[in-house]
Point group: C2
Chain length 151, copies 2
DNA sequence: AGCAAGTATCTCGCTGAGCGAGAGAAGAGT
DNA sequence: ACTCTTCTCTCGCTCAGCGAGATACTTGCT
């Protein structure tokens, strides 16, 4: 136990970063007439669309920790805003496919685009070795949190 | 545009980390009968208490992005749960000081203590220079997000 | 085939977090 | 004195999300 101030400072930095990112998301959402949940849903839907996966209300609700009633309300909101579209699955007609509209992709661009550009620009200050260290560090920390959630 | 995969990977890592930390917090909150906002407030209050700073409802609400009515409700909830206590500031009697109760400290210790310990343990894999790089990196990224929020 | 059991989604009624507007109380400037 | 500003709280409201249950469709069993 030689230097405990150093790691604790890093822990607080990690937390400060997540707080800032959360607030950024909340403010973006509010500016676009969305709720934080709507934005999280949109991110999930855009990620899935990019990966070519089919998302149903059930899967979306599970990913966001909502029950079925809340999920229906969420999908209603997103559909009313013209961000997604419902479509019955012809294979299994109990299912509903959630299709992302063009408008949602543009909104996602608006959200990530600017911030990602700034983040990448800030990374230019760091050398390749330093970025590699940062990558290993973030990977290690993410692993710890994931492991802590599962026990 | 030589190597865009490296910084993008880091951006996704940052997002993955915040998602994991959010989920961890949400699960902890739900297990203790709190709402996400209550937990964020508690973290803010514990940090301020450790730094010896006085927190008022106004400051707390500003930090969490709530208006005055929402802040009063939040403080009411935390007080009802026995986590904090209101106390009029004798210097400026318009103000109310929010005092953290023992119970709140124990709650924070109990559940975040384990995670912090794991995080610090994982940091032992990294050398002092690497930790310093990680610190600079996180500081830079947090700064970018903060700056993006303010414009 | 027919019918129970399971699955996916939606409807209904309700609770409560958070908002806008503004009241009340205390300090600061003139 | 008397405005002006600051800090907190009250009132009434909206709406996200919950629990319970209805509905529509599929699957498995006999």
């Amino acid at each position: 136990m030689s230097d405990v101030a150093e790691p604790m400072g890093l822990v607080h930095l990690l937390r400060a970063l997540t707080v800032e990112l959360d607030l950024f998301g909340a403010e973006f959402a509010a500016r676009n007439g969305l709720h934080p949940t709507d934005l999280r849903a949109l991110i999930h839907l855009l990620d899935a669309a990019r990966a070519g996966e089919v998302v149903t209300p059930g899967r979306l609700g599970e990913a966001l920790g909502l029950n079925s009633a809340g999920t229906t309300g969420l999908v209603d909101r997103l559909e009313r805003l013209g961000l997604i579209r419902r479509e019955r699955d012809p294979q299994d007609r109990r299912r509903v496919r959630l299709l992302v509209e063009q408008r949602a992709m543009e909104m996602g661009e608006g959200f990530f685009g600017g911030l990602i550009g700034d983040l990448v620009a800030a990374m230019q200050q760091f050398g390749p070795g330093e970025l590699e260290t940062a990558r290993r560090f973030l990977t290690a920390m993410t692993g710890v949190v994931t492991a802590a959630r599962e026990k």
